[in-house]
């Protein structure tokens, strides 16, 4: 069970959070102008590294902030954890 250092609340168990997936794919700023390929890249084709990964977590039971977390998907070691909206 991960222990996630929420920048606001401090160390909290994984069970307080909801996972939000890959933070590496940005929503096209103008979806209407995006090609099908660009749009579906954003929808379906995400980073899936075995190693460092930047991802979203929602502190559902705490400060209700979305966090951007760096985590190694193999060892689960955590890197920087910050509020997605500073």
């Amino acid at each position: 069970m991960l222990l996630i250092p929420c920048p606001f609340c401090g160390d909290r168990d994984e069970t307080e959070f909801a996972y939000g997936g890959d933070a590496g794919t940005e929503r096209p700023a103008d979806p209407g102008a995006a090609t099908d390929e660009a749009w579906t890249d954003y929808l379906c084709f995400h980073d899936n590294p075995k190693g460092p990964h930047r991802e979203f977590w929602f502190h559902r039971d705490g400060c209700r902030r979305w966090l951007t977390v760096e985590r190694d998907t193999h060892t689960h070691e955590l890197g920087a954890v910050r509020l997605s909206r500073p």
Binding site: F8, G10, D61
Partner: protein, 201 residues
Amino acid sequence: MADGATEARRSALAGLDLGSRAGGAGGVLLGEGPPRESFALRGPADDPAFARAVETGLGAGLPQQPGAVAEIGADALLIRLGPDEWRLTAPLSDDGRIAARLASALAGGRGALVNVSSATTVIAVSGAHAADLLATGTGIDLDPAAFPPGRAARTRIGNAQALVHRKAEDAFELHVPRSYARSFWDWLEARGREFDAAVAL
């Protein structure tokens, strides 16, 4: 407040008839806390105008530290819950006056004040094993060094989300969502068996 509202109030735990079960002493005492009114205060923490408006309305500054609890006058509290979220809570007898003052100070500026008085039920947990009982169901560090009296934290305990306010080393108030309150109470009481839990008046 409209006519007939006071007698209309009913706690989410009313069906448990706790009054008739109160008594006895145990390692933990469980009881329903006195009813409070509560307001969600939202706004930009870093905007001096917002901070000034709050200070004007409440006569006290915004608590800065996460989980910090600022006391405002007699038994009103302002608790910092998130980067842009505070909980203002006062005895029911305040009758919305403090919120009205704050609302008028905030008027026209940034931020929002939302009445959530009915959203939570307050359960008081006290006694030598109060922290141990909470530790059966929450992962936060309840060591007084890490979570001293006078602090609050929103977390998950057992089957519900709870705002935990530590009033003393061995006394806590838990604000749990109203619709969960009955199940949460039952859970707390069942886990309390280990500590000979009793119902307090």
